[in-house]
Symmetry: C3
Subunit: 130 residues, 3 copies
Amino acid sequence: MTKTLQIKTSAHSEFINITSLAEMVVKESGIREGICLVFIPHTTCGVTINENADPDVRRDMITELNEIVPWENRYKHLEGNSAAHIKSSMMGFSSIIPIENQHLQLGVWQGLYLCEFDGPRTRNVIIQVN
Amino acid sequence: MTKTLQIKTSAHSEFINITSLAEMVVKESGIREGICLVFIPHTTCGVTINENADPDVRRDMITELNEIVPWENRYKHLEGNSAAHIKSSMMGFSSIIPIENQHLQLGVWQGLYLCEFDGPRTRNVIIQVN
Amino acid sequence: MTKTLQIKTSAHSEFINITSLAEMVVKESGIREGICLVFIPHTTCGVTINENADPDVRRDMITELNEIVPWENRYKHLEGNSAAHIKSSMMGFSSIIPIENQHLQLGVWQGLYLCEFDGPRTRNVIIQVN
């Protein structure tokens, strides 16, 4: 079972919690044990897992990734968003989470995050349950 | 088939070889062809694949990751371990390895490593064979 | 269905588009819906997804990754290629792409790239369709 969902991002760089969307697709699928593949079909937006409690963790991640991959750095790509491409590849375009008892087997402190690096835009998220 | 295993880490930053644990679960499952998903349900500990021969490769990886993501850098998260969160997302929380003839199809020089970035702690590793 | 393909790389650092190879294996498999796992069985070569249009994006990625992980930096590993090991772990060794209607569900601007970080060499790519 595969679903494509749309997410509107509202900032240039932003981590958006999409855990409940993935949980909903798992529930709808009726699959009790298996894997959930969350795939981002873009090149300046990725996906990762990280802390779901203190929002400062996401803020620190965004700030630090901007220090590691500066927005301006003699890039040749004329669109000017090479940093967003690089950060997306560093986070990755897919998360694969085991499913047990019809629930994502995420850790207590884990949330699933869409990582917008060149927003605001409308992004697609493909969620496939096997 | 899904197993959750516990690993006690013994240093603040440490790469622990868990290849044989994953191989054991693959063997137990009896599955001849498929995929092995190794998932870390934490936020300051990741998983990666890398060289299984010279231990200096792991040492260099840990040292260099500490240069890229310094432990202190005006982070806002009060626990003070934001660098561990970022490094974990950079390595990722899952490894997916093809299985053939009831063995992980790892390359000759590849080992599977739990990446502790905020230890020592007791960590869970979820291994699912499909 | 699993295929191992060989790729000859021709530069020290290079992103090679392998999308059509993965599409060919998906077609051959006859599988209409599922997942395609692309796995690199090496430790100084990874795989990622990124822009398939402007080649400057790949050039910027290679240049910027070399700034983030410098080739020389007091590494201990005697082979002298620790940077290649680290960059490979940062990109990752597997890409997992959903399949629909017997095609990879990649975004319009997405291509699948083998990331050579210590070439030129002959590399294997394992493509498994489930």
